[in-house]
């Protein structure tokens, strides 16, 4: 029985009904991984360990809500005794002695981590083209990028290899690839999921989250990924609800905000058309639309490209060739050790951001850039706070368009940075946001973004699930519609 394109919920039923054994599921998964090797979605596979775990589950009744569910882990999460590269040459030899909290949480729930997925180097990129381990192919088209930085995770789910993958989202790295690959992805409230063991890009923005075929699966994953973690002081100590509880409740009367300042006229007609259709669909489900203003939202991208590089320039200082990771050959002195190791270990995009970050933090420029950016960030957050007094969620397209061709953004980083126009504000404000498939442009999927209030993931998932039980965009696959 084929397991390709099955959701977590479907696989759980199959396992419970003994339609398939745990071992068969994992064997089938690795077969699918190998049949799709041209996607280059994985950097490291964990086959032996996965089969061992599956075998255990077959012999001993497994516990945990996700027992036996194969999951692909973004290669940014530290996995004990399993190579973790973060998409970089710098960590091409790094085998962590510990696992990230979110990895532990998922594995404690019974998930089997089948491998580590390809990604933009240190999560810096929107097309997976900055990975040291090569581009990832979007399953929807040979030359198409899967988006980034969680490109491998998105491609693995979109190709139906795994029902679920972990991702991280600093400026859109879960939602943008989810949109471009036609899957569902959620970036929770900042602090919902522990950052312990996530290799930091921009600490005040980074947040892990689930990527799956459906909103319902995202809820199942989120239930297990969240925890208050004493190892992460920014982790939130608030009750964690059962995110599946309200999925099927009606959204009659749901107030959805439309951002006045998001100028959709600059988008492709098709994208606008699809967005309008989704609006209509939500109206038919009983939602009401309210125009809201986020006056400072246009400053999001420049603000992000000061704050994120600043933090990254400091976070990436530890990669110096002294303690772990790559070290250059035969440095003649300490200075050369640093220069050669970091020149050889980092790719261009990472270097660019370290340079930007060092610049905006340097003496004489700090006030003009970093401090100002933090002030603007506060204003953007205040804008959202005001808006959420009048609406329950905010809706926008996730991306400006569907997947683009590899290399098409050329050497212009600004064009690439604008990919995250709609997704960045939620990171700056620390708010939960998700992307769900809502249409096709030239046989390429595209996503709808829902932004929620602080800690209000349940409402996002409810709105997304209501959309999905009455539409079939999330059921489309590169090999045709799923029955």
């Amino acid at each position: 029985m084929s397991v390709q394109y099955k959701s977590i919920k479907e696989l759980k039923n199959m396992l419970n009904n003994r339609d398939i054994s745990h071992t068969e599921l994992i064997q089938e998964t690795f077969l699918n991984i190998k049949n799709n090797s041209k996607l280059n979605a994985f950097i490291t596979l964990n086959e032996e360990e996965s089969l061992k775990k599956a075998n255990n589950l077959d012999n001993i009744a497994g516990s945990g809500s996700l027992a036996g569910i194969p999951i692909a882990q973004k290669d940014l999460f530290c996995t004990k005794d399993l190579k973790t590269t973060c998409g970089s040459n710098m960590l091409s030899n790094f085998i962590p002695p510990y696992s990230a909290t979110v990895i532990k949480n998922l594995e404690n729930a019974g998930c089997i981590s089948v491998g580590k997925t390809n990604m933009d180097e240190f999560a810096m990129g929107s097309s997976n083209e900055t990975s040291f381990y090569g581009n990832v192919q979007n399953p929807w088209g040979e030359n198409l990028v899967p988006g980034g930085s969680s490109g491998g995770s998105a491609a693995a789910v979109a190709a139906g290899i795994v029902p679920a993958a972990s991702g991280t989202d600093t400026g859109g790295s879960i939602r943008q690839p989810a949109s471009l690959c036609g899957i569902s992805g959620l970036k929770p409230t900042y602090g919902r999921i522990s950052r312990w063991g996530m290799i930091a890009f921009a600490s005040s923005l980074d947040q892990a989250g689930p990527m799956a075929r459906t909103a319902e699966d995202c809820a199942l994953l989120l239930n297990e990924m969240c925890s208050h973690d004493e190892k992460d002081t920014t982790s939130i100590d608030e009750a964690i609800p059962d995110f599946t509880e309200n999925l099927n409740s009606s959204i009659q009367g749901l107030k959805i905000g439309l951002v006045k300042e998001f100028d959709l006229s600059k988008l492709d007609n098709d994208v606008v058309q699809i967005f309008e259709e989704s609006k209509k669909h939500y109206e038919s489900l009983g939602a009401e639309f309210i125009e809201i203003s986020l006056p400072n939202i246009s400053l999001s991208v420049p603000t992000y490209y000061v704050v994120a590089p600043a933090e990254c320039s400091s976070n990436l200082s530890r990669f110096d060739g002294v303690k772990f990771g790559k070290r250059c050959d035969n440095p003649k002195d300490l200075e050369e050790l640093y220069i050669k190791t970091r020149s050889e270990g980092f790719g261009d995009e990472v270097k660019r951001r370290i340079l930007i970050g060092s610049y905006v933090l340097s003496a004489g420029f700090y006030d003009a850039y970093y401090k100002k950016a933090q002030q603007v960030r506060r204003l953007i957050k205040n804008d959202f706070d005001s808006a959420f007094k009048n609406v329950d969620i905010i809706m926008s397209p996730t991306t400006r368009g569907a997947a683009f061709e590899a290399g098409s953004k050329g050497d212009d980083p600004i064009q690439m940075y604008l990919e995250d126009l709609f997704t960045i504000p939620a990171n700056l404000a620390g708010l939960p946001a998700m992307s769900i498939p809502n249409g096709m442009v030239d046989n390429k999927p595209i996503g709808l973004q829902l932004i929620g209030n602080f800690l209000d993931e349940s409402r996002l998932l409810q709105a997304a699930h209501n959309f999905q039980i009455s539409t079939d965009w999330h059921l489309k696959t590169p090999s045709g519609s799923k029955s």
Partner: protein, 475 residues
């Protein structure tokens, strides 16, 4: 023309917490290299710091003891620079909002009291150690110390000479040891300081250009380094040149300071708020509890010793000024009633032995219990004061119990008057010429007879009884 010196000190105090400032790693000194290093200390990818509240409590104690403002909300910043013993490539410190604000401390130099204002005291993590001389052509890195909590205490530039600087450093050391927030062990680097020195003409209102001398860890070197630096700067200024703002190192072998790096070569540390740590908030209750449990400080102890134990103020001051001395005094007094005698011995014979060996009381073999026993045995006349000195010397060497020493060496004082009288009579009988001379007016010979009795009894005779008996027999 007269020159005026302006000095400011930055003292790094290693806080005596069990674990590090941001990890559970142990802070104990002297372990094998890189054995007290956990994932966080190593700065592994993905790890996060968690602030050690105990370190905050210790910092607050210091603030309260120096009448400082306590910032109940304080924050952490990153100071970015590359060095192999700095695992993350940045040090987490408190730049913008330190836990302790403005305070002050009183020092005494040549009998004059002076108040030195303290600008701030902030928490930060220590770096590891680079070892350059152990491996040929390579540098070793020991990260045991990395992450150890430091309290950096920054003084206002109000110190006028080397003597004051040393007095200030000693005053800080006294406070931190009494507060039990640092062991004060300078040889192990538990306290180190950076000294900023500048010189200006007496009537100039603006400060001169300063040089910073890094990382000095002894009273003696502080004094020498400052004096060298003052001379150097005055020489430069008098020759018409100007002092360069720079960081210098003190070479204790050559007794000179040497340039390490100039202002232009200085790092741009690119400080910014550490995004991994939320502000640390100290509640009113937490602050009150620390305040209520603040250990007694030297001034209060001194007052109490005079009032409750009837000590002279000079004795009280000496004992109260050292934590270990005060502990020994209080420990012994808990076991014996004669606090005056305890104080006499501490200030007298024990201090002399400490000076002779150049050690601190805590490094000696004397315990408060054994010391109290020694005093008891003097009070109950088991041994004489003179014998007690030799018992103390024995303790100093072996640490043995007072009673055991008295017994094994047969040092119990001879109280038996008839026995003493018999011995005295024999000596008188055997020395007729001395008796004659004494009776003829040579009073000094009395000492001869006492000495002979003592010699005969191996010093164990009760001196008072001997005096009385001899006076009677020779009259």
């Amino acid at each position: 023309m007269s020159w005026e010196t302006v000095i400011g000190l930055e003292i790094h105090v290693q806080l005596s917490t069990d674990s590090k400032l941001f990890s559970g790693g142990s802070t104990s000194f002297g372990a094998e290299p890189n054995t007290h290093v956990d994932l966080i200390d190593l700065g592994l990818p993905g790890v996060l710091p968690v602030a050690n509240r105990g370190a905050f409590h210790k910092a607050i104690r210091f603030g309260l003891a120096t009448n400082a403002e306590i910032n109940q909300t304080s924050t952490f910043d990153r100071k970015n620079y590359f060095y192999p013993d700095l695992p993350k490539g940045y040090q987490i410190t408190q730049m913008a909002l330190p836990i302790v604000g403005k305070g002050s401390i009183s020092i005494e130099v040549d009998g004059e009291e002076k108040i030195i204002n303290i600008t701030r005291a902030h928490l930060e993590e220590d770096a590891g150690k680079s070892i350059h001389d152990l491996f040929d052509g390579e540098t070793g890195v020991d990260l045991n110390r990395a992450g150890t909590p430091l309290l950096e205490i920054v003084s206002e530039p109000e110190i006028s000479n080397a003597k004051e600087a040393v007095a200030y450093f000693k005053a800080i050391r006294q406070i931190v040891t009494f507060l039990d927030i640092c062991d004060g062990n300078m040889a192990q680097g538990s306290m180190r300081c950076d000294v900023n020195v500048s010189v200006k003409k007496s009537d100039d209102t603006e400060l001169g250009t300063r040089a910073e001398i890094k990382n000095i860890n002894s009273f003696k070197f502080i004094e020498k380094a400052i004096n060298f630096e003052i001379d150097r700067q005055i020489r430069i200024l008098e020759s018409g040149d100007s002092v360069v703002q720079e960081t210098r190192l003190y070479d204790s072998v050559k007794n000179e300071t040497r340039s390490m790096r100039s202002k232009e070569e200085a790092n741009d540390y690119r400080y910014f708020p550490c995004p991994d740590l939320l502000p640390v908030v100290i509640s009113d209750n937490e602050l009150k509890e620390i305040k209520d449990n603040l250990p007694e400080l030297p001034d209060e102890k001194e007052r109490r010793y005079v009032e409750e134990s009837n000590l002279d103020s000079s004795e009280a001051k000496i004992i109260a000024s050292s934590k270990t001395m005060a502990n020994m005094f209080e420990g012994a007094c808990a076991k014996t009633n004669d606090s005056k005698l305890v104080a006499n011995w501490l200030v007298g014979d024990i201090s002399a032995l400490l000076n002779k060996d150049n050690i601190d009381l805590q490094e000696s073999k004397l315990t408060a219990d054994n010391f109290a026993l020694l005093i008891e045995r003097i009070s109950d006349k088991t041994i004489s004061g003179k014998i007690a000195k030799s018992v103390l010397e024995e303790i100093w060497e072996t640490g043995n119990n007072v009673d055991a020493i008295i017994e094994s060496k047969g040092l119990v004082q001879i109280q038996d008057e008839s026995l003493l009288e018999k011995i005295a009579q024999t000596i008188i009988d055997n020395n007729p010429s001395q008796v004659e001379a004494f009776k003829g007016g040579k009073d000094k010979l009395f000492g001869f007879f006492v000495g002979q009795v003592m010699k005969e009894t191996q010093g164990k005779a009760n001196p008072q009884s001997v005096n009385e008996i001899l006076k009677r027999l020779l009259s």
